[in-house]
Symmetry: C2
Subunit: 593 residues, 2 copies
Amino acid sequence: MQQFKAVRQALAAKQLDALLLPRSDAYLNEDLAPADERLRWLTGFTGSQGLAVLTRHRAALLVDGRYHEQAEQECGGVLEVLGDGDDALFAWLASAFPHGGVIGCDATLHSAAELARWQARARALRLELHALASNPLDACWLQRPSAPASPVVPQSLAWAGQGAADKLAQLTGRLRASGCCALWLPAPDMLAWLLNVRGQDIAIAPLPFSSGLLHCDGTLDWFIDEQRLQLPWDWLPPSVAIHPPEAAQQLWRLLAARECRKIWVDPALSTAASVKQLREAGCELHEAAHPLPLLRACKQPAELAGCREAHRLDGLALCRFLYQFDQQRASFLGQSELFVAAELEGHRQRSADYRGASFDTIAATGANGAMPHYLPKPGEAARLSRGQLLLIDSGGQYPQGTTDVTRVLPCGTPTARQRFLYTLVLRAHIALASSRFPRGTGGMTLDTIARQVMWREGLDYDHGTGHGVGSYLQVHEGPQRIARHASATPLQPGMVTSIEPGVYLPGELGIRIENLYEVVACAERPGYLEFRVLTLAPLEPTLIDRKALNAAELAWLQAYHVQVYQRLAADLEPEVASWLARQTGAAQSSAQR
Amino acid sequence: MQQFKAVRQALAAKQLDALLLPRSDAYLNEDLAPADERLRWLTGFTGSQGLAVLTRHRAALLVDGRYHEQAEQECGGVLEVLGDGDDALFAWLASAFPHGGVIGCDATLHSAAELARWQARARALRLELHALASNPLDACWLQRPSAPASPVVPQSLAWAGQGAADKLAQLTGRLRASGCCALWLPAPDMLAWLLNVRGQDIAIAPLPFSSGLLHCDGTLDWFIDEQRLQLPWDWLPPSVAIHPPEAAQQLWRLLAARECRKIWVDPALSTAASVKQLREAGCELHEAAHPLPLLRACKQPAELAGCREAHRLDGLALCRFLYQFDQQRASFLGQSELFVAAELEGHRQRSADYRGASFDTIAATGANGAMPHYLPKPGEAARLSRGQLLLIDSGGQYPQGTTDVTRVLPCGTPTARQRFLYTLVLRAHIALASSRFPRGTGGMTLDTIARQVMWREGLDYDHGTGHGVGSYLQVHEGPQRIARHASATPLQPGMVTSIEPGVYLPGELGIRIENLYEVVACAERPGYLEFRVLTLAPLEPTLIDRKALNAAELAWLQAYHVQVYQRLAADLEPEVASWLARQTGAAQSSAQR
């Protein structure tokens, strides 16, 4: 590989034995601008998570369970593909460097927490993890795209529900209570929420790259190119001071002027480079979980109303697509997965409010569905063939909110096995979606409610059961998470989460059923919470074995379908509405009343 | 209170402002000998868990959720009854000592981990937690019973399945792998298992009070009065050296002679006094979870066979009692809870193998059932009256194994509400009992499977869902535990656990359904585990609303009842066997085949 050769030369010049390269950027974003796709440039791997290790003679790629099959396909020949996690990384490093070595890490691409943890482990193996201020790869990347600088526009208060001055006051209150002088805001999504602004520096989330520093007197230093701002003159509160992005590399100037003694920094969300800088400014660091994500996660009534409206718009598009697929199934056969994704995108684009996908659409037919985060690519996408299941995981960005939904469709008459597995995943979904739980219950506890249904059949899925979702922000947003590990944050009213259990049989099929839900207080049971559905799209009747559902499951399914019909039918074309009535059994159950 | 006055004088003489008194003994046993019932002597509280704080002018009792109602009844007038936990303790201490103070703690009654944690928290409140080598209360307790010294007898290899030499070798292997020179065995149950011996120093578990020190050459110092041993001459491996119990207070002598450098000690299972001693012996301490409980928890085939046999014997006694109660229900009405417990005990005593109860029988009728660990007492026990539910939680010790079972019986025709709640608890029980889960799954994850069924109705229970059970040892045995918190130990094949969800409505009723299960590999699903039932006793048909059970739940119930009938009927009197056939529907389902 040409890239390996160039980077190896750069490493030799710096007397490094290896380079660790995560898929990350200077804001630790999950989604990257083209200019930050270093891992893809180096390895060809297109997944959204991965870590490459390039030594003088070997190369490895560590990916999580979702991406193992995909990584093998994309770069199995030239890299060793391994599972992820610290244990896997250090086992490989120990085998590659039995006598020790010096390994470079770009400190702008790793969180401070990760780098500190790795450095401690490396020492035990006589390895030195050398934190680099810049990336040796960058000089080798000749046709690197330029960094993004999209316009920064206001996010209407009609959907944000709370002005920036209010949010700043609330966050400053948390800061004061901590006894710290300042709070480091490392990530663009934090500033976007706090100041009610949006941008388009990456394709799939409306983020303007920037960072900030909040002081305990309520003033905010915002690091962004002022030229980019397209905001009404009075949009930003007077306590916001704008600094060029470069000033974020000289924080000591701002901190020294204010005699800041103690600064609150979240080492899991801040790059090692930024934490190093703050430490060198002479401040004591208060290392703790960042207070902003939890404030943001408990959404305002206006945000939730927006979220419901976004799901109504998205539901109309989905229904039209599902109707089209159902009616023209024969003509879809032989088409590629990319065609499917484009057709769905076309329906979404009919809405004037649609601002683009909230992530790259996963349209995966047959065995491709077994790769939970497979993305079809030109020239490689599979074509639909009779008997397969087609998995479509997609979402939209609307000023009102962000959506994320997965449906599975049969390309022909489903087999008994397909129906069994789909119904099982549906039962796992319903188990959690219909659950109630006491306030204070964390996502780790809730994860079991869905997963245990799969376990009974000896099946499982190697990903979380649910993630938080932003309000016209990122489709993955913490702090809440429904997963087996490290998800102790209790769910609270106003939070939005996905529920998305699945089953993946390599070489055969993948099934995932995903809706978004808002967490609400349970009216009947004080002290208990439950889920209220946001996503509006029918489930596939031909894949549901109704005999395998118990009465409670059937009741949930019917209530959901009635709601889908009632919320959408009036705005659908008559033939689509009639089809929806049939798919959901809504017409029938309405008639029965 | 006379006791308060005496102890307050003793505190004043030692210039202490207060005394912390847990329910504990020098081995941190859960069950105490009469000589160790200091908390009961001081406060009158008879529960199995509690912590008193006695100051010059105030007195408080901290108990967990199980015991709140009971503590209020037994000593609510003279002590402030509080919830348990460090937060509650230190909030109370902060209010009692706003200007600081010196508080005595008997270092022989607290684990080293607990005392260290509390001392750190106390410092922040300007309190000094003073570790005392002896208890100021002891001099005040005039008619204190004498310490137990029961005979130490062999536990047959037929039920232990593994000789002491083998177990010593296995444990020494773990010790060597740790790089330590010695391992401190703080608790009688550890020595009882390791050396295949039993005693009767406490009423409800066959334990001989003793402790031990294992060295990496495989020799074991056992601290016990040699006079007590009634063992065959070759029962103990030659590597076991017997020392008088007092030698355990002079461990430095033994350690110095061997030039021990590093000793493995579990600070959660060892008293603060013993850890202080080990530290003062000049050894480095390796503080880590003790390796013995996990070795013991994964039981030998002979232990599991014994456990099944113990449950068969116990099941016969239970069935005879349940038959008697069902047939003579009218004559049970008006009898006291103690009569009920005595009748059940009488049936157990018909077995020549029965060695006594594995814990004090909880027979609780009506509102008493709402106290999960209520114990009837002479003069205070309630009498059964029509319309109540009677909860009976009991267990037996047999050389073959230890049992623990809870059944709920109606005193008359059950109400719809009683049937609804019983059926709900049954469904929670079945949900977990019929579950499958991948190897590596911890008890915290499993807890949700039972609890979520209750949550759907806005109900919960303030205790764990399951605990490990010893083999003719203690009825509560770690390290595994099925509970909401701090139970990450994965369940493994050969472990025995209870499943015991419940519902408690104060002032009204309590329902708990408890069986023991062994964890087994799932034959159909490689990599998955499931539960195989041990407890054999029918569930109450008149309390089950079969229409509220789905097909899978009905199938579990029927299979369980068929098994109860098939395992027990041949050894029951004909009239009891016929009754059992009716109760379980076994006759009917056998006939259908």
